[in-house]
Assembly symmetry: C2
Homo-oligomer: 342 residues x 2
């Protein structure tokens, strides 16, 4: 309930700030470059609209963290008048969303994906050369957005970006390899999924003026939220209910994705590993192969990892001691992302 | 003479700082990502060595500008002991070189270039997906390198990056278009070539503690140096002496490059424009077409533009009033880049 109320207040501010920053790419000569960015953000072009914009989860995490951390700082009242106090984290909220969208533009090229949120990807529309460059521009704008928050925030941003590229390196390399270890999996999702969520919650706390100890609690909350979310997603990619996930059953198996259950199964060296080595799993066969994998303990293992990470995430959230409506909304968002009753 | 002496002192420091920063991309799991970066920088892999590293002109511009601006600030003596004072600009020197090399990695994908400095490009060695990501990592490290210089330097960096992507957008778009104006050409090289050189000289002056007025003189010196250099390069690409340029005569014409003389020629709507519209110019025909272009005044026009920009660059350099050995070396480097006796 507080989540919906606050999101309705926050998201229009986020969208306006994103549009203001993205507009900086526009000059009389570069209207088309600007159009690539506004198209990707879901504001312009065929199919534009809320569906094409994504849920803006990351900016929400930033602003809710800022709101939840702020109330506790009695001395952090420098914003005056009727402006909500989480507004001081708006530069970070815009920055993380721009960073996320830069990574999506490049991801779509790297994965050869023709569609994103139901629309042709930037590279499909403008070619690979322009799409690489549009991603670079979007990436630059993440730094532009963050500048008002100063060097510590920019330091978090660049470390997050480096971590992202390290995770992305691993993800791409997994595709071409037969042997990937569970340890490498953790390094991959640590960079590709968890680093950005860790940055969201830490940046929110930073903008709220939280001290290093509390910033660390927010950061670790975000990181474990990201890890737990990804492992949960891996579980749903094989054993999720198609009518809820919107994907076909065991779709990750048919896609050949080296998700956590698959890597666990491969490490067992049993019937699943033998079947996997024989070549791609067809959509028709995926259900049977999912059964083999479950029989070897992969489902149970993955579920226990997801549960453990969820507990850790909620433990760090408790340590962060989020306050007020924003704090309640932050807990609600976390539970929703973790697939728990909100 | 001072240029050679100072370069011999500066370049090893630049190389060591670059290696230190690039090493941050390396973790136990990401040794190969690090290898892509060290390969591109010319430090590792087949063909590594000075030839593969490039001339590091941009870091030299930063450090010489810092050295030349410093001597004039009597109160800028905060660095103690025997360390050279230009050393305070080292973070910027590393940052601009990393930024330049990020743009080369992505450029090579965008241009479909198999070779860079005589070696296979990163995308040729590791594929497009990994090369896009390696470029993103290199780009991130530019911000990492710059952090110690604070928000004003980071602000210059992000504005330069945005300008670069705007220039790159135009450059890519020119290829697919028949009509490109001379105005668009200025916007393109302003972003693609001149913005980074402007950042080099401004960042040097900034690190030296120069005030806004003098920083502006350094910046405009760098910008016009970049513009003049590019126009000069366009001239040599058509009428240069092959034994000096290392390219075949009129090679830009055979490559179909929309350089300044070509755009001037197209705007005349004469014999050259007619020939250009008929299709690609062969290597054998390039000399004759270069003659048509010269007869329509394109060579004279381009030369006068190069001369005018060179004069402006040297005028701003004078206004910047560079001091001491570094100042003399800066003038020497400028004259060398502009193809004048040093």
């Amino acid at each position: 309930m507080p989540l919906q109320t606050l999101a309705r207040e926050m998201l229009p501010r986020v969208e306006a700030e994103l549009q203001r920053i993205v507009h900086l790419a526009r000059t009389p000569d570069t209207a088309e470059l600007h159009a690539m960015l506004t198209y990707h953000m879901g504001w312009e072009g065929a199919g534009a609209g809320p569906e094409a914009q994504g849920k803006r989860i990351r900016p929400l995490l930033v602003l809710l963290s800022a709101g939840a951390a702020l109330l506790r700082d009695r001395d952090a009242d420098s914003l005056e008048g009727t402006e909500p106090r989480w507004l001081r984290a708006l530069p970070a909220a815009a920055a993380v969303e721009l960073l996320h969208n830069f990574s999506l533009i490049h991801d779509d090229i790297q994965d050869n994906s023709p569609l994103r949120r139901g629309r042709p990807t930037v590279w499909k529309q403008w070619g690979i050369a322009q799409a690489i460059n549009a991603g670079d521009a979007m990436y630059t704008l993440a730094y532009t957005a963050m500048l008002p928050l100063g060097v510590v925030a920019l330091d978090i941003l660049q470390r997050t970006c480096l971590h992202l590229t390290q995770g992305q390196y691993l993800d791409i390399s997994f595709e071409g390899r037969t042997a990937v270890t569970v340890d490498e999996y953790w390094a991959m999702i640590g960079g590709k999924t968890a680093a950005l969520l860790a940055a969201c919650t830490e940046l929110g706390a930073l903008a709220a003026g939280a001290d290093e100890r509390r910033r660390a609690a927010y950061r670790e909350f975000g990181r474990h939220l990201g890890l737990a979310f990804q492992v949960q997603d891996d579980l749903l990619g094989i054993w999720g209910n198609p009518s809820l996930t919107g994907k076909s059953a065991a779709s990750d198996l048919a896609a050949g994705k080296k998700s956590l259950p698959v890597l666990y199964g491969l490490a067992q060296g049993g019937a699943f590993a033998e079947r996997w080595a024989e070549g791609p799993v067809s959509v028709d066969e995926a259900g049977v192969v999912a059964g083999m994998l479950a029989a070897e303990g992969a489902r149970e293992f993955t579920q226990s990892q997801a549960d453990g990470l969820t507990m850790k995430a909620l433990g760090y959230l408790e340590e962060a001691s989020p306050q007020g409506e924003a704090g309640a909304a932050l807990g609600e968002l976390a539970n929703r992302l973790l697939g728990r009753a909100g």
